[in-house]
């Protein structure tokens, strides 16, 4: 079992040759591929990070714009509401004024008509009272 002979050194030399051969056709090329792939993945990683940062800044910009637009629209609405209030107030005031003046005119007319009615009534008082007397008393008596 323990018979050493020239197999030993020859095997050692053969193993060293195998190491050199495998280094040329296996370790070197594949190590290079693995390193390259690692580099590629790392650079891809940083590239995607850049893109993510860019996308986030764009989102922030849009959010800022949206907030601004909302603020603008709110102020517009407030302005419109104030305007509408003003308009209604003036309209209401005008209407009330008109109503007032019409009422005054109507009162005046009533007053006038009342006065004229009293005047006619006063004119007719004599004849009417005469008629009443004629009806009650004998007409001869009156004359």
């Amino acid at each position: 079992m323990f018979d050493f002979d020239a197999t030993l050194p020859l095997m050692a030399v053969q193993f060293l040759l195998l190491t050199a051969l495998l280094n040329a056709v296996f370790y070197k090329p594949l190590m290079k591929v693995l390193d390259e792939r690692e580099d590629f993945l790392r650079s891809g990683d940083t590239g995607s990070k850049d893109k993510l940062a860019k996308a986030e800044s764009i989102v922030q910009e849009y959010e800022r714009q949206i907030a601004e637009a909302r603020r603008e629209s709110q102020s517009l609405v407030q302005k419109a509401q104030a305007e509408a209030k003003e308009i209604t107030a003036t309209k209401v005031a005008a209407a009330q004024q008109e109503v007032q003046s019409q009422r005054e005119a109507a009162t005046q007319e009533i007053e006038q008509q009342k006065a004229s009615a009293f005047a006619t009534l006063e004119q007719q008082v004599d004849s009417l009272s005469r008629q009443i007397l004629e009806k009650i008393l004998d007409p001869e008596l009156i004359k």
Partner: protein, 247 residues
């Protein structure tokens, strides 16, 4: 060990037999080498190289199929080495420790999964290269060299100061460690893989069907664990050599 081979005479069907210590010997000059170990290691190396080539032939940014699988393997190895050596210096050691893990892992599983017995050899049999002590000692000694190299390269001769730090009293133990590290690495791997193959072989010899299956599954598990342990310890030793004691 040849006695175990004689056991097969008791088995009428000879579904399995045990051969330990027999080698398919090749001679190169005055030296002998274990042919079956090399044959099988070439198959393992071929598998690894083909898988690597298939994965890196047409590299794409989004991985698919074999490239995805090999990237998963590489990430596993990278995490293992990084956990042991640390973020700063792990890159230089990924190829060495990664190849240790892959070679041992594929060797172990090839021994456990492929029925090599079907291929006849003049002597011995194909099995996991890691069940030969020569292979494991070779890998362990390379690990020792690697951590010496790591320490010397980083600290120069100052690396040897760690033998007498924090106190020279521990000098013998520190020196002994340099011998026990490769010894334990090689014998752990060798023992586990050989024992696993022997247990499976003996069980198949005794009860050919079904019973050895759980043991084979367990063998797959221990094979993977041993590859992981070897690579992790190699990383830990290298880290120890690189570490600054002054901080």
């Amino acid at each position: 060990m040849e006695i175990l081979g004689d056991l097969t005479f008791l088995n009428i069907y000879t579904l399995a037999e045990l051969e330990v210590g027999e080698h398919f010997l090749w001679k190169i000059g005055n030296f002998t080498i274990h042919g079956q170990v090399f044959l099988n290691s070439w198959i393992v190396i071929g598998l690894l190289v083909i898988a690597s080539l298939a994965a890196t032939r047409n590299i794409q940014k989004v991985p698919r199929g074999i490239q995805n699988f090999m990237e998963f393997v590489l990430e596993f190895i990278r995490d293992l080495v990084r956990n042991q050596i640390g973020e700063k210096e792990y890159r230089d050691w990924v190829p060495f420790i990664g190849t240790l893990f892959l070679f041992i892992f594929v060797s172990n599983w090839s021994g456990a999964l492929v029925p090599w017995k079907l291929i006849e050899l003049p002597a011995g049999e194909l099995a996991a290269p890691t069940n030969d002590i020569n292979t494991t000692v070779a890998l362990a000694l390379l690990t020792s060299l690697a951590y010496f190299y790591a320490g010397l390269k980083k600290k120069g001769l100052g690396y040897f100061k760690h033998y007498i730090e924090p106190t020279p009293v521990l000098l013998p133990i520190a020196i002994l460690e340099d011998f026990t590290k490769p010894l334990s690495l090689s014998f752990r791997l060798f023992g586990n893989i050989l024992a696993d193959e022997l247990v499976v072989a003996v069980l198949v010899l005794l009860v050919p069907l079904l019973i050895p299956l759980p043991v084979m599954a367990l063998g797959l598990f221990t094979s993977a664990i041993q590859a992981l342990v070897f690579a992790t310890l190699a990383g830990a030793y290298i880290h120890e050599a690189l570490e600054d004691h002054h901080d």
